[in-house]
């Protein structure tokens, strides 16, 4: 059975009637499971026809991105100017073909710690908007992802949007991979400087069971220098910042890389991100 509702409320209604329907957007995670014989779908809820989910809007300093907007549309244009770190992360997702189909909703639904865009959502303290049978609920992204490939989405719910603030300060992303394209991240990070709040936020991917905000390091940095201006950040601070971020990471060793290298790599890229912030 394929359901193709045209509105969010219709989609939620489908799940009331058919709670086991598989929510399908770009299919770049789900179809891999089907092709490998790990999932055999019986009923599908396709979000393709819901225009609202494929659009983004901006209001009062907040940007709202529909959960089914393909990554390719985050790489350039007005959205990329507002969220340059997201544009940078989007550019590293899979391949051009994957970026034409992959979505934030999909990455959040899968909740892999290696999800390329997720460090950006964490660093920007994104809010996940979820449609439920009783209306809408909002969850901070850090409360949404609870473990590797586990999240707090309940049955009958659909992720409809991600809300992110427009920040005036530097924001940057970095992802380590062995190949120059189409590569699962070995370590990734997003750093955001908010001069108004005098804070730097840094989130690390693939170096823990979920995305890690290096909050202790953030606090150390705020105490160490006046973050109302990035020019106050010295090279020595950047190096120490990277080292501390590494200390907060909890990487594992697997067939892709070692815990030791992941910790080292995330230290290097967080340090470099702060250097870029200082130079901006």
């Amino acid at each position: 059975m394929i359901h193709s509702p045209r509105s969010i409320s219709d989609a939620v209604q489908v799940l009331q009637v058919d709670p086991d329907a598989q929510i399908l957007s770009g299919g770049t995670d789900f179809m891999v499971e089907v092709n490998f014989g790990h999932r055999a779908p019986k009923s599908i809820l396709s979000l393709r026809s819901i225009k609202e989910l494929r659009a983004w809007t901006q209001q009062d300093g907040m940007i709202r991105i529909g959960s089914a907007l393909p990554y390719a549309q985050m790489e350039t244009g007005a959205l990329a100017k507002l969220l340059p770190a997201l544009a940078q992360a989007a550019r590293t997702v899979g391949s051009p073909q994957i970026r034409a189909a992959g979505t934030l909703g999909g990455n959040l639904g899968t909740s892999s710690p290696a999800g390329d865009s997720l460090p950006v959502l964490y660093a920007l303290d994104a809010t996940i908007i979820i449609a439920t049978s009783t209306g809408e609920r909002r969850v901070a992204v850090k409360d949404f992802m609870v473990g590797p490939k586990r999240n707090s989405l309940a049955k009958g719910e659909i992720i409809t949007a991600v809300e992110l603030p427009a920040i005036t300060g530097y924001q940057g992303y970095s992802k380590v991979g062995v190949r120059n394209a189409m590569v699962i991240s070995i370590a990734s990070a997003c750093l955001v400087h908010d001069p108004l709040e005098r804070s730097v936020r840094v989130a690390m991917g693939t170096v823990g069971p979920t995305i890690i905000r290096a909050s202790e390091t953030e606090q150390w940095l705020a105490a160490e220098c006046d973050l109302s201006s990035a020019s106050n950040i010295t090279q020595a601070i950047c190096t120490e910042f990277g080292r501390r971020c590494g200390e907060e990471s909890r990487p594992i060793t697997d067939h892709r890389s070692t815990a030791e290298y992941r910790r080292h790599a995330v230290s290097v890229i967080t340090s470099r991100l702060l250097e870029r912030c200082a130079a901006s």
Binding site: I2, V32, R48, S95, I98
Partner: protein
């Protein structure tokens, strides 16, 4: 057959195609190849990591192995079979042949679609834009050098022709 039955219609290369009694989990790649008589798109990885199955979905190049066919009923699907009218060769196809960009040919259909798509969106891409646009299409035989040459040849011809 004991598998769940789906019947639906797909728009492929500007024509309507009926699909009868198909298993719900079939990818668009499978349906094109095994049900609709369009084996041009190839499967080499089942997970969107090689681009051999590239087709256009509403004007964007995607991996058809990752598209659930039964959910693509409202999409405008274009395959390699629609390039060059299926009879005469397009300039991209011709350039691939002349530049030696074809060896075993398994990656070729996916690349043809990806290159045609690139030049539709960006008629005069830089060298790095070409490489990035094709970074999702793996070729194991050529090492890509002749493929880049083919794209340059096609771009030059289109630019020359339009002047």
């Amino acid at each position: 057959m004991s598998l769940e039955n789906q019947s639906y219609t797909l728009s492929v290369n500007n024509k309507s195609h009926e699909v009868q009694d198909a298993w719900i989990g079939e990818s668009l790649l499978y349906v094109l190849r095994e049900r609709l008589g369009m084996p041009g798109a190839k499967g080499a990885c089942e997970q969107g990591e090689c681009g051999s199955c590239t087709v256009l979905l509403d004007g964007e190049a995607v991996c058809s192995c990752l598209v659930l066919a039964a959910a693509a009923t409202e999409a405008d699907i274009r395959t390699v079979e629609s390039i060059g009218d299926g009879q005469t060769l397009s300039d991209v196809q011709q350039a691939f042949i002349e530049s030696g960009a074809v060896q075993c040919g398994f990656c070729t259909p996916g690349l043809i679609v990806a290159v045609e798509n690139l030049l539709t969106h960006n008629p005069q891409p830089t060298e790095m834009q070409v490489k990035e646009a094709l970074s999702g299409n793996i070729c194991r035989c050529t090492g890509y050098g002749r493929i880049f040459d083919a794209v340059s040849v096609a771009v030059a011809r289109r630019t020359g022709a339009s002047q």
